[in-house]
């Protein structure tokens, strides 16, 4: 399998504080890669570096490389809006725009120049189907997205990310604000997603990483301690610190 994203000696500083230290990671295509680690270890920071959402933070300094399909994402010719279209993102708290469901999904395509009604309808349906939400909302597309349940909102956000036809979907603790039932639905959805997309997910929930991911990276204090097949990680981790963390012996 090809590597979708490769980072090389990635360092990231928030001002003087180094949040990421020499991260070398290869994220394979059509797999789910989970990032785990204790709070503050740099998971979210790493994730946000991949689609340059960290650009928004003042005082961030990045060295090293991030290659997306071999292209350095920090290269001057790369426009960040293009990058973010290719590498979508889903956040911890479901964040539907305060608009109708339809407009939420159509937001991205419109932004990128799709205005034909028919095309939009098509995209909206496709995206919602992709997020396993179509049947639940097809009769209320013109209702506010805020009226959906938390789990539905999160799936709608996934649909919204799909609407611009990305390659990669980054998810930062996408289920941590949801109840167990919604969580399970999203987890289930993810294994469908990986057939078409490459998924990178940050999760606090080790069981979740174990359940859904193909590869797992364990971060600690800004370092990537271990990166293995998930099965390997949760059965025979290479590093003592990984084992301590996943077995709850940490801290």
């Amino acid at each position: 399998m090809e590597n979708m994203i490769t980072t090389k000696d990635l360092d990231l500083f928030y001002g003087a504080f180094q949040a990421l230290k020499k991260i070398n990671l290869e994220i394979p295509e059509h797999e789910i890669t989970a990032l785990i680690g204790p709070s503050g270890c740099g998971k979210s920071t790493f994730l946000k570096t991949l689609n340059r959402m960290n650009d928004l933070v003042a005082g961030v300094k990045i060295t090293g490389e991030v290659l997306y399909r071999g292209q350095d994402i920090f290269a001057p010719e790369v426009d960040v809006t293009w990058l973010r279209k290719r590498i979508g993102m889903v956040f911890q708290k479901p964040n539907p725009f305060p608009m109708t469901i339809y407009d939420n999904i159509a937001y991205g395509p419109r932004l990128h120049g799709t205005h034909s009604k028919a095309e939009l309808n098509d995209l909206v349906e496709k995206s919602l189907r992709g997020a396993a939400l179509w049947d639940e909302v097809k009769d209320r597309l013109k209702k506010s997205a805020l009226g959906l349940s938390g789990g539905q909102q999160q799936r709608m956000c996934i649909a919204r990310a799909l609407s611009v036809q990305p390659d990669v979907i980054l998810m930062d603790e996408p289920t941590s604000a949801l109840d167990p039932i919604s969580t399970m639905k999203i987890e289930d959805l993810m294994s469908d997603l990986k057939e078409q997309y490459t998924v990178v997910i940050v999760t606090h929930n080790m069981q979740q990483a174990a359940r859904i991911s193909d590869k797992t990276a364990f971060f600690l204090l800004g370092e990537m301690i271990e990166f293995s097949d998930t099965e390997r990680m949760f059965s025979m981790p290479r590093d003592k610190r990984t084992e301590d963390y996943i077995t709850g012996r940490f801290g």
Partner: protein
């Protein structure tokens, strides 16, 4: 959309594996008895090499069970299903081994009608085969009654073992040559294997009971 469909698929797969393994040992034991009765060394050799597959199957299922435990944090029925599988396969594998053991002895006996020395072995074999078949079926059908009945039948095999033993002792007492003694000992072993096969079938049934009731050998272990 049902939640956890991945997990369900995996459980389904585990079940299919078990059924497949059950089928394999059922076939192995039936074939080995057939080979013994007809002294067919070809089939016996087949059985011996097929045992590899059963062993592999065991490891495969073991791995799957551990993976499910590790990844899915099962509880209740799911946990029972996985632990049942994890325990049951040991017995299945042993039944497979014993089938191979019998096949090996069949090759060694390599003579006409050694069974004349212990006429009850076929009957024993018959019951043991039935028990294996029944235990696999009770598992597949999740049939508590059948499992319990099968457990009860173990006594028949045990009784027959003693009968066979007596038969063989009768053969051995008085004059006998080394060849005969050799055969008798081998037949004794076959009887022992059949008896053990019955035991293992019982064990499997006991896990079937556990899956349904949480009781293992009358003790609530879950």
């Amino acid at each position: 959309m049902t939640a956890r469909s991945t997990f369900e698929t995996e459980l389904e797969q585990l079940n299919l594996d078990l059924i497949k393994m059950g089928g394999m040992i059922e076939e192995a034991i039936a074939k080995s008895i057939g080979a013994l009765e007809t002294s067919d060394t070809n089939i016996a050799n087949e059985i011996i090499s097929a045992d590899r597959t059963v062993d592999d199957m065991e490891k495969q299922i073991e791995a799957r069970c551990l993976r499910l435990l590790m990844r899915q944090q099962p509880v209740a029925r799911d946990l029972r299903a996985i632990s049942t599988a994890l325990k049951m396969i040991t017995d299945m594998e042993r039944i497979g081994d014993h089938a191979a053991d019998i096949a090996e002895l069949t090759i060694r006996l390599d003579s006409n009608k050694p069974l004349s020395m212990a006429q009850h072995i076929p009957e024993m074999a018959d019951i043991a085969t039935q028990m294996v078949r029944a235990c696999v079926k009770s598992f597949i059908d999740n049939n508590l009654e059948q499992a319990k009945e099968t457990i009860a039948r173990d006594d028949e095999v045990d009784d027959l073992f003693n009968v066979v033993r007596d038969e063989l002792i009768k053969t051995l007492s008085g004059e006998s040559d080394a060849e005969k003694a050799n055969q008798a000992i081998d037949l004794m072993m076959i009887a022992k294997y059949l008896e053990r096969i019955g035991d293992h079938a019982v064990n499997i049934c006991e896990w079937v009971v556990f899956y349904d009731t949480g009781l293992h050998k009358q003790t609530q272990i879950m």
